[in-house]
Amino acid sequence: MPVEKNITLERPSNIKLICQFTTSGDLNSVNVTWRKDDEILETNYLNATGSILYTQYMFTIVNSKQMGSYSCVFGEKKEQRGTFNFKVPELHGKNKPLINYVGDSVVLKCKCQDCFPLNWTWYSSNGSVQVPVDVQMNDKYVINGKNANETRLKIMQLSEEDRGSYWCHAIFQLGESEEHIELVVLSYLVPLKAFLAIAAEVVLLVAIILLCEMYTQKKKEHSDDGKEFEQIEQL
């Protein structure tokens, strides 16, 4: 049964990984290796006391190539493995698509919980290729963020071409993290058509109600004339 631990790392750090293996059998026959993504590393330290096998691996993570999965593996044929997964912090964006109308402005936000990226970049994509957002167009795009752990992309004068996927990238020393935001741009005609349809239905209802009433009143008047004549004749 694999044992795993997830570690979030932002800055270059000194790392010490420790594994303890307990077995009832012969400890000396157990082969201990440290691996990174199946590549065998040099084991620093090994100690066997009683029935517990203790091993540790110390190293320094400086760049993104050193991030990944590190495992301590006990035994050869029947492996027992403990895995440490090193990742950069993940981002939180909006899960629901943002809906806006032509001519509006919208603010796309990306936030990192308890972490401070070195830099933020924005990309847009219509399909699979990510194209950086052209910040030179000052009357269209404005990028700013109140704190170091969040970024905002303000898009002004929305048009239908602005719809699609937007990606915010948080750049750390040890790698990159990205988040996806969907932007939908509608034209006013979309709800307007629904509005006009419902308004037409209301006009129809009012017409039906008033016409029905005029019809029943006319029927009453005709039957009244008959009764009035009867009463006059009786007198």
């Binding site: 809906i99 979309v190 709800p191 109600i209 009035e228 006059i232």
Partner: protein, 441 residues
């Protein structure tokens, strides 16, 4: 022309049918339907508007307190504007007034969909739609009271169920509209929904009751009402009741959170309260008509029960006791609403009902506006909701105490309804037409 008058009939115009007394059925049920949809479209929309608040806070980057003023302004305009709606209905009949109100309400929402600032929303939804709602709700309920006399409470109870049912339906609907069209499109479609108020207004066929010529125009009615002792006492009673009435709605969830309830069971409890509120309205409506004697006694019964239940809320700590109390509160508070509207025609007569209802709504709104902030203040000062629940229960009990002072309270025979007295006084020797021949179905 002269010969027809001499034969003992009054001339039948092509616009209105003259009736000596309320029809108690027939077209009245269509008025119930209209009132049902109107209470749904006015109060259901208001209650479900909270769904929009989150969007407004994000879109305009304003605080929640400033955004909630939109609904507050709308409610205040609707209540303070009620006498205007009533006075206009007395003069022109309810139909044109309600239809105009529907157009105003829809126009307010339409303009709101183009809003670029919060002030824009205050004016369009708060002021414009609020005025529209003022012109619809009160005239419709008054019209309903004129169409029914024996089954008045039941009709009112059935009509008011529109409020509760629409809160169930509109909250998810508005949420769906927001996710599909964003708040601008959603407001546009809520405006289209509010246009149905115009269709509801078209259903309000004018009804001319026998005592109408005797009571005069809106100005005279208002002055005579202000000199009417029982009416004033009733208004005071309703204001006291209103002060305590809304507090649990506003503070029940917060009180549950104070007692460490999770959000999901708390929301479920609110739904259960809403259902028992609905049941209470219909049951009380039926009961109000079935029990002989002044309806004010039933109102006193329900108000006293609600007050006692409210005072017991702080004592109940176990979940089962809280649930039982909440359900009982829902039932009794729902039960007092239709009866509260039915007392008025018995006091002032159906001729003055428009102006009467308008005045009552305006004055009792003061109680409603004061109640929630007072309760919040008590909570801030004492640290929990005990004091605010007890105080609101006290207000309700005080209101029911004032009700005892109403005329005929302790009589056991039904008071002869005022329209009959006026008929014999003003019509003299005229032979009333047999209403079956000219009547509706």
């Amino acid at each position: 022309m002269f010969a027809r008058l001499a034969s003992g009939g009054s001339p039948v115009t092509s616009q209105m049918a003259h009736k000596a007394e309320p029809p108690d059925g027939g077209w009245g049920w269509m008025v119930v339907l209209s009132a049902f949809f109107q209470s749904a479209l006015v109060f259901g929309v208001l209650r479900s508007f909270g769904v929009f608040f989150v969007e407004f806070v994000a879109a305009f980057e304003e605080q929640a307190a400033r955004v909630s003023w939109i609904a507050s302004i709308g409610i205040a305009v609707q209540q303070f504007g009620s006498p205007v709606g009533s006075a206009l209905s007395t003069k022109f009949g309810p139909r044109p007034v309600v239809m105009a109100g529907g157009i105003l309400a829809a126009l307010g929402m339409l303009l709101a969909s183009f809003a670029t600032s919060l002030t824009h929303l205050y004016l369009s939804i708060g002021l414009l739609s609020g005025s529209g709602w003022a012109l619809t709700f009160t005239p419709t309920l008054a019209c309903l009271s004129r169409y029914f006399s024996r089954r008045r409470s039941l009709a009112t109870g059935l009509a008011l169920t529109g409020v509760g049912l629409s809160s169930f339906a509109f909250a998810p609907l508005f949420q769906w509209l927001l996710s599909y069209y964003a708040w601008r499109g959603a407001l546009l479609l809520v405006s289209a929904l509010s246009l149905h108020l115009v269709a509801c207004g078209a259903l309000l066929r004018p009804l001319s009751l026998a005592e109408d010529p005797a009571v005069g125009g809106p100005g005279t009615q208002l002055t005579s009402l202000l000199h009417h002792g029982p009416f004033l006492r009733y208004t005071v009673a309703l204001t006291l009741i209103n002060t305590g009435y809304f507090i649990p709605y506003v503070h029940l969830v917060a009180h549950l959170q104070d007692l460490d309830w999770d959000p999901l069971p708390a929301a479920f409890l609110l739904s259960v309260v809403a259902i028992s509120d609905l049941v209470g309205r219909v049951a009380s409506g039926w009961l109000g008509d079935a029990v002989p004697g002044p309806v004010a006694r039933l109102l006193m019964l329900w108000t006293t029960l609600t007050g006692v239940i409210l005072a017991l809320f702080p004592v109940a700590l176990a979940p089962t006791a809280l649930v039982a109390l909440a359900v009982a509160y829902g039932f009794t508070s729902g039960a007092l609403t239709p009866v509260a509207f039915s007392v008025l025609p018995e006091l002032v007569g159906t001729g003055k009902i428009y102006c009467g209802l308008g005045l009552v709504q305006m004055v009792e709104s003061i109680g409603g506006l004061l109640g929630a902030p007072l309760s919040g203040y008590l909570r801030d000062v004492t640290g929990n909701y005990t004091a605010s629940f007890v105080v609101s229960g006290a207000f309700l009990l005080a209101g029911s105490g004032v009700l005892i002072t109403l005329p005929h309270f302790f009589c056991f025979s039904a008071p002869t309804s005022k329209p009959q007295d006026l008929v014999t006084e003003t019509l003299g020797t005229k032979v009333p037409l047999p209403s079956e021949g000219l009547g509706e179905e």
